[in-house]
Subunit: 203 residues, 2 copies
């Protein structure tokens, strides 16, 4: 795991909470309040936020709108274009969920090899044949992909999209991908997740 | 995070890989071979497997079938009954995926508050009204639940199912749940996961 992964996870989480509070009309927040809404300690939060170009005041805490802007600047992920490969039930559910929930991110292109899944639109996401991946990824400036293909083809598909310029993969196929070191892969094996929770609910 | 979480994750991952190899007809494996198929080092694998009641031999490695049996015994999760609450697109996709992929786990009951989603069967999972949760959970001996409800109701629903005896929750709602300490919660915020991968694919 890269050194700052946990920190980036925490900061993304702070941003989600802050956006929600801002929508609800709250203007300021103290680190201990943000702590109660996340899994981080107040000290951890203050340390993480020290690197942003905004600072809290002892009397009023952080200004929420400023903090969101600072985090957006720090993370630098804004209107990111994402592709999804594999348009089965899970793929389609993820498109609906992400495109219906996020303002910063959009899954703009879906890919499959089955003709009946190609050339359609799901929740604002157009679908293409996988053979056109590189062309579309170049055109749409896509470097992040979600992989929801069957396990038997996951490694081949991953290699193909990496060759086409993808440098970050959220992998839902239950297999460890072997890819060049500069490619960031986050594995989300759903079965393993359920098995783990089932284990800890018994222990 | 509980002390042994990472270890349990690794062991669940070893089991998945071993089951696949067993199906493909492979009988033995060395720790360095298992290492190439997982993200763990050979030393880590040997350390993890030392607690199982089977051991590898220097000449032949581990016997795969024995190792699977030992892991099943160690983990103790067998034919686990799981519930899912929230039968939207994501909930239905998860039922199809889990019930179509896993032998050990089955999502046997789904719950929602919308009448048109109640009293149906999806991939072997019967659906009920949420008001019947405790009755069904008691009858079917369910203590693990997957939460795919809208964020605004997630905390209330979580409290309700915990009162009904749930002690492990896989939470797909993008909110930090506040629950008693004995309840194990694993958060799977999909938006945050995509944001994190997008960040690291740019950096």
């Amino acid at each position: 795991m890269r050194r700052s992964e946990r920190k980036i996870e925490r900061i993304i989480n702070y941003r989600r909470v802050l956006i929600k509070l801002d929508r609800e009309g709250q203007t300021n927040i103290f680190s201990h309040q943000l702590s109660a809404l996340t899994n981080a300690t107040p000290a951890q939060i203050r340390r993480d936020l020290m690197e942003m170009d905004t600072s809290g005041s002892p009397a009023h805490g952080y200004v929420i709108k400023e903090l969101i802007t600072s985090i957006n600047h720090y993370i630098g992920v804004d209107h990111e274009h994402v592709a999804i490969i594999g348009l089965g039930n899970l793929g389609k559910a993820i498109i609906n969920y992400v495109n219906g929930s996020s303002e910063n991110l959009k899954i703009i292109a879906g890919f499959d090899i089955q003709e009946e899944k190609v050339d359609r639109v799901v929740a604002g996401c157009h679908s293409y044949h996988l053979k056109d991946f590189k062309k579309i990824a170049d055109k749409e400036d896509i470097n992040t992909a979600i992989l929801t293909v069957p396990v038997r083809v996951a490694q081949d598909v991953a290699e193909e999209i990496v060759k086409a310029g993808i440098s970050g993969i959220l992998n839902y196929a239950p297999v460890n991908l072997h890819l060049p070191e500069n490619v960031y892969v986050e594995n989300r094996d759903m079965i393993a997740a359920v098995e783990k929770v089932a284990y800890f609910s018994d222990h």
